[in-house]
């Protein structure tokens, strides 16, 4: 704000001085030049009258010659000062108008508006640095859940586009370099409501700078960063970055899970999927043959390592091995887009193919060619550009690897339901049959859409009624929680996946498990089920009705009457 006032005042100095001088000279002239009163006697205009006259003359309002008609000498003076004063007014207005259109002025204005908006933030928010594909997907997902976000991007076009997007919450956006500490501070890094910083720029060094700045200036908050190379990853981990997301490693580990436990992989995709997306089909990556991996970049290397870990033989096709390094496994030089190289890799006897180059057109071409040679292959396609979604979907690959959406999905889960990650790591120790049974239960809950996931903590905030009930020694089991408050004999379409109780984790608790105050629950279910469960946990009488089946009178009078009658079941 200060800088705006300063800018205006500084620029207006010259025009104001001009106006002052012109007014002073005009007034002085009018006072000095003798006039004639109604009787023809000599009359001198007083300073007050001169000021009054000049005021309306200079603004071209023109009430006429008062109190007496002017002499010719006065008129001559007035016509001179009229032009001088009008010109100086135009000069002043012109300066103000050009100031308003001035770029520095507008930037100062936008920055102060942004700072004010950040200061007013009262609810927890996440600071998202970089509003590319990943940032856009993440902010959309966060705002859809009612969480707040603040965006910084170095490209002004991207920060402007936020206003055009139909986001559910207001998302303040700053056009600036997130590598500069000042910009991070302006965007609320040290704000008491700042819950986390997410570094998603396409530059590893910038992400590193953001992560270390955030850790130094506000050690309490969660820092999540994208990293595309192992060096940077190790660097970030060294100073305690909370989560580092490498899209290639993440996908490769998904692939490994799909190999070992297809049901668990399916469950993972359902539970981490965006709300409103259709349930996906299970995939079974085959082991009965070797795999062909096209492209030996960061993605290819990560996939090869995982495949080798699964004991699958890999043949790599790479056009420029001098850049990517020679793979240890079997190797064919070429692009993979033509039948010749694919045949060299013995595509006809292969089980799976990974089209993992950094060019979408080449990836599609690899899939189309390979499909002609061997239609039964298991296809994994890497999608690089968001816009290519439709054509990638059209080749109907078994698995699609899209870095932006992998990062966005992972970070969304980390920010909204971190317990889901805990659940997944616990689930890894279970048999696949366990996961298959759970998957069939989950698919029974919801028709064909991905289930909703919520994390509830039984505290005095959101679930106040439940907390109070439990604190006063009430017994409430998981089964009671999942009863329909409209008709208590029916259970809601929801499953409690995990209970977090101090240092204990209860994976898939039995229905008879009693809840304790301070528990944190991870629940999955249909959206309708959550609406009804919220009634139970936040409304005392609904809670008691669900527990006992008795609809107790609520008002003071009725309660008294009920006691009198001995009405107590």
């Amino acid at each position: 704000m200060d800088s705006i006032v300063f800018l205006i005042v500084r620029r207006m100095r010259q025009p104001l001085l001009t106006l002052l001088v012109v007014y002073a000279v005009a007034i002085l002239g009018l006072v000095l030049i003798p006039g004639r009163d109604a009787d023809g006697g000599v009359w001198h205009m007083s300073l007050f009258h001169a000021f009054y006259f000049v005021s309306y003359m200079a603004t071209t309002i023109g009430f006429g010659e008062i109190p007496y008609a002017f002499t010719d000498a006065q008129r001559l003076w007035v016509s001179l000062s009229l032009y001088a004063s009008v010109i100086s007014w135009i000069y002043a207005f012109g300066t103000i108008l050009s100031l308003v259109q001035d770029r520095t002025f507008q930037e100062a204005l936008a920055e102060s508006r942004f700072a004010r908006r950040i200061r007013k933030m009262r609810e927890p928010f996440h600071l998202v640095c970089g509003y590319g594909e990943t940032g856009t997907a993440l902010v959309q997902a966060l705002t859809r859940r009612g969480q707040h976000a603040v965006v910084i991007d170095i490209d002004e076009a991207r920060t402007n586009i936020i206003q055009l997007q139909d986001l559910r919450e207001v998302v303040p956006a700053l056009h600036g370099d997130a590598a500069l500490t000042r910009h991070l501070q302006e965007a609320g890094l040290q704000h008491p409501s700042c819950a986390g910083v997410v570094a998603l720029t396409d530059d590893n060094d910038v992400n590193l700078k953001i992560a270390i700045t955030a850790k130094l200036l506000n050690p309490k908050i969660k820092v999540i960063s994208r990293a595309d190379s192992h060096d940077v990853e190790a660097n970030m981990a060294s100073f305690g970055t909370d989560h580092i997301v490498d899209p290639f490693d993440t996908f490769a580990s998904h692939l490994a899970v799909a190999f070992q436990a297809p049901c668990l992989y399916l469950l993972q995709r359902w539970l981490t999927g965006r709300e409103g997306v259709a349930l996906s089909e299970p995939v079974y990556p085959p082991r009965d043959g070797h795999w062909v991996v096209c492209g030996y970049g960061r993605f290819g290397k990560a996939v090869c390592a995982r495949l080798a870990g699964e004991g699958v033989r890999v043949v790599v096709i790479e056009a420029r091995p001098e850049l990517t390094g020679q793979p240890e496994s079997d190797f064919v030089a070429g692009r993979g887009t033509e039948a010749e190289t694919l045949n060299q890799a013995d595509i006809e006897n292969a089980a799976g193919l990974v089209a993992g180059t950094d060019n979408d057109a080449n990836n599609l071409s690899i899939v189309m060619t390979a499909r002609q040679l061997n239609p039964d292959l298991f296809f994994v396609v890497r999608q690089n550009q968001h816009d290519d979604h439709d054509i990638i979907a059209a080749v109907d690959a078994d698995m699609v690897m899209h870095p932006s959406s992998i990062i966005a999905d992972k970070i969304r889960v980390l920010l909204a339901t971190p317990m889901l990650y805990e659940f997944m790591s616990l689930a890894l120790y279970q048999e696949d049959a366990w996961a298959c049974e759970l998957a069939s239960r989950v698919s029974a809950l919801v028709q064909d859409e991905v289930p909703s996931i919520r994390e509830w903590s039984l505290d005095a905030g959101h679930t106040a009624a439940m907390h109070e009930y439990l604190v006063h020694g009430g017994q409430y089991t998981v089964e009671d929680l999942l009863r329909d408050p409209w008709y208590r004999a029916r259970s809601l379409q929801a499953i409690v996946l995990l209970i977090h109780r101090r240092n204990d984790r209860i994976l898939l608790p039995e229905v008879t498990t009693a809840l304790k105050p301070g528990d944190r629950l991870l629940i999955c279910g249909s959206r309708g089920a959550f609406t009804r469960m919220e009634w139970t946990v936040s409304h005392r009488h609904t809670l008691e009705y669900v527990k006992t089946g008795v609809d107790r009178p609520q008002g003071w009078l009725w309660r008294r009457l009920a006691t009198h009658k001995g009405y107590r079941r």
Binding site: L20, A24, S46, L47, H49
Partner: protein, 127 residues
């Protein structure tokens, strides 16, 4: 020599000297205080105020503050004058004149501070 500093100093000192010129004389005697002098004091003070705009330093802020005080007092004096002569047409009675001159005396004090600050700044600059 910086011409901008010359103009700046000129107007600030001129504001003080003109103000003194108007102030000096018997406090109740209208013949000792001419209306043109008051006019000149107001105009020069306004110019001095505008010249002080847009300086971000602590000294600049204080200079602007003193000028604003002076302007406030002088405009009050001019308004009293106008009311006495034109609105109530009582003329410049001794009590009216006394209040006009004392208002301008207050403005002069502010102008003195302004000049002192200017001198301090110059001395501290040492070049």
């Amino acid at each position: 020599m910086n011409p901008e500093k010359v103009v700046f100093g000129f107007f600030i000192v001129l504001a003080l000297t003109l103000n003194f010129g108007f102030f000096v004389g018997e406090i109740e005697n209208p013949e000792h205080h001419h209306v043109f002098e008051l006019f000149a004091v107001v105009v020069v003070n306004l110019i001095a105020t505008v010249l002080k705009f847009g300086d971000r330093s602590q000294m600049g802020a204080l200079l602007l503050a003193t000028s604003l005080v002076a302007i406030l007092q002088l405009i009050a004096a001019a308004v009293v004058w106008t009311f006495a002569v034109h609105v109530y047409a009582t003329g410049l009675t001794p009590d009216v004149m006394a209040s006009i001159v004392s208002l301008s005396g207050g403005a002069m004090l502010a102008n003195v501070i302004s000049v002192i600050l200017l001198i301090i700044e110059t001395v501290m600059l040492r070049r």
